[in-house]
């Protein structure tokens, strides 16, 4: 083996040769001490050019090669492949860009020649210092873990398990299904939500490749594409899930009643209960924080009532460690809490005064909701007018959630399907309810609303008189009022009738309504935020999980191997959630092929432990969370699987302890010095 360099000059037809005299350059470079040979070719990237390149190297003892041709973006990989074909290390090839950076940027032949010569000589100096990098491969897990069992998690699990892949779904609550299970009819086309979800849950049940763990919390999660480790705490159910058949004998027998969080406090549930009828798994769960038996009291009612002997109070919380190759994060979002804003009268008495959030209101439309699906006021009467106030929290959140308009119009339509005298009015600023289905929904709400006449009985006039002078009632409101400033719409309430005050075209108005629905924005859920923190995922300004690229890679997170599905990325309707779920599953499937190893990037950074003082700056700047401090050794360790070779830590490291392979200071210095002083 010689240390000398083989140089190839490409004429690129006339692209290079017209300005740079290749014969002369060849003659000059041949005189260089470090150069073994100089060969020129008409079009090195063409088939015959590549053959020429490989033939010249095949039986030679040359290991280091410079190709003076086009941009490495064009053909670096071409000649790297050629190097591999002839058994040479591809990292011992360096390209000098004498086309884009020389002949294409000047009409002066002398200048082009001088620069081509300088760049080629610089490449020769540089390639002499190149290291033979090894391309590493690692084994990877092909299993997928889906965190969050809402509709997005369910759909991504179904797709990901399609080719026999093992998938585990982790769900915090006792049942899969998520937010969709709380709806009766789902906007925009008002399809029966339970009818959409139930068959999907059945498919999960039948699928041997999908393992479901509900009623669990994630204690720890860490790793990278091909190798994640997740520590899961399975909370004790106190019910043998295999034995329980989901009858409600235990529920009937249980003497403890508490407020139902699933129904947002609008109904009560028992200490042993199912989340909703038809839940999955169809199995009761004991709330150990309120159960008499688990809080030290004397009660055995459920145990005695259970015909299957399924109650098992010997259960304790269990820890399970899962390993997988990819994670799909579908932990959803939460609704903005209007309690923070006094203008909506959403105080402790809000329910009594028939003021609801739209999540609460959705439960009123549900057949298994607190009113059995009838939209009625707290006093049991049908409402005459329901006012939907949109964009609640938009100003505080700082963004439009994008999915609430459609859901609210859907709820408005559902509310009018009951009593014939109920009308709705939506207070809006911008309407985000587009597309063909969205437009059809708006049309349906409008048409239905037109059939309603406004009843002007004494109830209204009483409220109207309280609104003060200059305020007039609109007797025949359209279903939608575009207000001047949605943030200034306010709600006051008096004896069961509320007034919504707003202004249009600079004039103040007020109308009475006997039900008010606050259409609240979407904010990141606490679970999502905590998982993002554990995985060190990039967040959007609003705190949602950020896509790796919002347009090109919308279902990939900032960490390779973690995919995003549903509202964890921000407000989404059901179909958008499912699209992102399928995209996530596709991403996971294409990355993790059984039997195939994961090839790692060779051009990565590493920290020299002799020089590193653990100042943590690399940890701070690394966009891929690849740099971590080994606290025992007090040094930084850069994970070569996570590192993408961007070089940010190299530039930042104040100790000069971090080096990027293939871009070492010595290599760059040799190249630059040759150009400047050569």
């Amino acid at each position: 083996m010689t240390d000398k360099v083989g140089v190839f000059l490409c004429k690129c037809s006339d692209n290079i040769a017209a300005r740079v005299d290749i014969e002369q350059l060849s003659a000059e470079l041949k005189l260089e001490e470090d150069v073994a040979f100089v060969k020129s070719h008409e079009l090195l990237c063409a088939g015959h050019g590549q053959e020429f390149f490989e033939e010249a190297l095949k039986n030679s003892d040359i290991s280091r090669v410079v190709v003076a041709a086009c941009s490495p973006k064009d053909h670096e990989s071409t000649f790297q492949k050629c190097m591999n074909h002839v058994g040479k290390n591809k990292f011992l090839m360096q390209m000098a860009n004498i086309r884009e950076q020389c002949t294409w940027v000047t009409s002066e032949n002398d200048n082009a020649y001088a620069k081509a010569k300088a760049l080629t000589r610089a490449a020769i100096r540089r390639v002499k210092l190149h290291e033979q990098l090894v391309e590493k491969e690692i084994d990877c897990h092909t299993e997928v873990v889906v965190i969050g069992g809402g509709i997005a998690g369910v759909e991504s699990a179904l797709l990901a398990s399609g080719d026999g892949r093992k998938v585990t779904i982790l769900e915090k609550s006792p049942s899969l299904g998520g937010m969709v299970t709380k709806l009766e009819e789902a906007a925009p086309n008002m399809e029966c939500a339970p009818c959409m979800v139930s068959p999907r849950l059945s498919l999960i049940d039948e699928n041997d490749n999908i393992n479901v763990i509900t009623n669990c919390d994630i204690e720890e999660i860490a790793g990278y594409l091909g190798n994640f480790e997740i520590k899961v705490k399975k909370r004790a159910r106190m019910v043998d899930a295999d034995a329980c058949i989901g009858c409600d004998e235990c529920i009937q027998a249980c003497p403890v009643e508490v407020s139902s969080a699933y129904d947002y406090g609008m109904s009560s549930r028992k200490a042993v209960d199912v989340l909703f009828p038809g839940c999955f798994p169809n199995c009761a769960v004991v709330d150990t924080s309120v159960c008499l038996k688990t809080t030290g009291g004397e009660c055995n009612a459920c145990v005695e009532a259970c015909p299957m002997e399924a109650m098992d109070f010997s259960q304790t919380d269990e820890i399970e460690v899962l390993r997988c190759g990819a994670v799909i994060l579908s932990t959803g979002a939460e609704q903005f809490d209007p309690v923070e804003l006094s203008q909506y009268a959403f105080d402790a008495n809000a329910l009594e005064n028939d003021i609801y959030t739209y999540s609460q209101f959705a439960r009123l439309t549900s057949n298994h909701g607190p009113t059995g699906g009838s939209v009625v006021k707290q006093n049991g009467e049908a409402p005459k007018r329901i006012a939907f106030v949109h964009c609640v929290g938009r100003e505080q959140l700082g963004y439009c959630s994008g999915s609430c308009c459609e859901a609210a119009f859907g709820l408005g339509l559902a509310a009018m399907s009951g009593d014939e005298t109920t009308s709705v009015v939506h207070f809006v600023s911008d309407v985000m309810c587009g597309g063909e289905l969205g437009s059809m929904l708006l049309e349906r709400v409008n048409q239905k609303n037109r059939t309603r006449t406004v009843d002007s009985d004494a109830m209204w006039s009483k409220v109207m008189s309280g609104l003060g002078s200059g305020v007039q009632e609109i007797t025949q409101p359209s279903f939608m009022v575009r207000v001047d400033n949605i943030n200034e719409v306010s709600v006051t309430t008096d004896n069961g009738v509320s007034a919504v005050r707003y202004s249009v075209a600079g004039k103040s108005y007020g109308i009475a309504a006997d039900m008010v629905v606050l259409v609240t924005g979407t904010q990141p859920s606490k679970t999502s935020t905590e998982l993002m923190r554990m995985l060190d995922l990039a967040a959007t300004r609003g705190g949602f999980a950020a896509a790796d690229h919002p347009i090109l890679r919308p279902a990939s997170s900032s960490l390779d191997g973690v995919f995003l599905a549903g509202s964890v990325m921000g407000g989404k309707n059901i179909s958008e959630s499912i699209i992102s779920a399928k995209a996530s599953a596709g991403g996971a499937l294409s990355k993790l092929v059984p039997g195939r190893k994961l090839s790692l990037k060779s051009i990565v950074a590493y920290a020299d432990e002799e020089l590193c003082s653990a100042c943590e700056l690399c940890v701070q700047v690394c966009p891929y969370s690849a740099a971590k401090i080994d606290v025992n050794r007090n040094i930084s360790v850069i994970n070569e699987v996570l590192c993408q070779g961007c070089g940010t830590c190299v530039a930042t490291c104040p100790s000069g302890a971090v080096t990027a392979r293939h871009f070492t200071d010595a290599q760059l210095d040799a190249e630059i010095s040759e150009v400047l002083h050569g």
């Binding site: 002799e610 020089l611 003082s613 943590e616 700047v621 007090n634 930042t652 104040p654 100790s655 200071d665």
Partner: protein, 326 residues
């Protein structure tokens, strides 16, 4: 004076005298050194003439400790003389090592320095506007002054240097370690800087944040109540520790003052200031260029902060450095 004791020379170039003080600070230790060696030149303490040194055989001095940067013909002359006469040259202190505080003068010009010092200073009374020249004739007698160079240089930009003792000034324990190593012949590889291989952070006992906090602005130590237990950078005070060689014993840190970088850069880093700038940049918070600029604007005197001891050694002056070497 016995001939079998190793001969040692101390010399000062462009320096403040602090390095000499550091030698005196050895206290009783100085007597041990003085007993073990034969001092042949030490302008600040003993009365030797340059001609005494010139009379020595080449290589006769075992080791010459040279502090201060190089700015005048005289300093260059003696440095070259000592190189000839001494087996080992130790660049002593920040100024000889990287240019030090006098090196900040490279940010202005010789002409401006003369103008300020000899014409514009409020205490100067110079109606004839006399400024130093290398040669003048007074009453028929030629008088000369050493020439004042256009730039300040590090010692190794002028002569070959064997070892570096960093610091402004070097810590007494470092001096003893260096002298002992030389006297006992336990020499590190040529070109070594006596100090830690790692940055100051390695031995700093302040608590580091799990993840460094981003700052909207920076503070001078007197502007906030600095918590003596917590990393300065975490508190928004610029500390040069991450980019500065350790081994000084962290006296400043223990005195609740941030590191100003006098031990210079680490092996393999070519520009301490540039490294500091990229390190500090990692602490700046801002969603827009305007916000980042606002934060940067709170760093008063960036050159003096990031390049306090290293302007002549920095990449910024590499070209000038190459010229003087030629």
């Amino acid at each position: 004076m016995s001939d079998n004791k190793p001969k040692v020379a101390f010399y000062w170039c462009a320096s403040c005298g602090g390095c000499e003080e550091a030698v005196v600070d050895l206290n009783e230790g100085l007597l041990d050194v003085a007993a073990a060696v034969d001092i042949v030149l030490w302008p600040v303490a003993l009365d030797f003439k340059y001609s005494d040194v010139e009379a020595l055989r080449d290589g006769d001095i075992a080791v010459a400790f040279v502090n201060g940067a190089i700015r005048t013909d005289e300093q260059a002359h003696i440095a070259r003389l000592l190189r000839r006469k001494a087996g080992l040259i130790v660049a002593f202190g920040s100024c000889a090592h990287t240019g030090g505080i006098p090196g900040l003068a490279n940010l202005t010009t010789k002409e401006k320095i003369f103008e300020t010092s000899y014409l514009k200073s409020p205490t100067v009374d110079n109606p004839e506007k006399t400024i130093p020249v290398t040669k003048t004739t007074v009453d028929g007698v030629d008088a000369t002054l050493p020439g004042f160079w256009t730039q300040v240089h590090t010692l190794d930009q002028l002569i070959d240097v064997d070892y570096y003792l960093p610091g402004c000034p070097p810590m007494p324990n470092s001096i003893v370690d260096a002298v002992t190593a030389i006297l006992e012949g336990k020499l590190p590889p040529k070109g070594a800087v006596i100090g830690s291989k790692k940055a100051l952070c390695d031995t700093c006992t302040r608590t580091k944040p799990v993840k460094p906090t981003l700052h909207e602005r920076f503070y001078l130590p007197h502007e906030i109540d600095v918590d003596p237990e917590v990393c300065f950078l975490e508190q928004g005070v610029i500390c040069c520790g991450p980019a500065t060689r350790g081994g000084c014993g962290e006296k400043c840190i223990q005195g609740n003052m941030p590191c100003t970088g006098c031990y210079g850069t680490l092996d393999g880093v070519t520009d301490q200031g540039a490294k500091l700038v990229s390190a500090i940049a990692a602490y700046i918070d801002g969603d827009s260029a305007i916000e980042v600029k606002k934060a940067v604007a709170t760093i008063l005197d960036p050159a003096g902060t990031f390049y306090r001891y290293g302007v002549p050694a920095s990449q910024l002056f590499k070209k000038e450095a190459m010229e003087v070497t030629k």
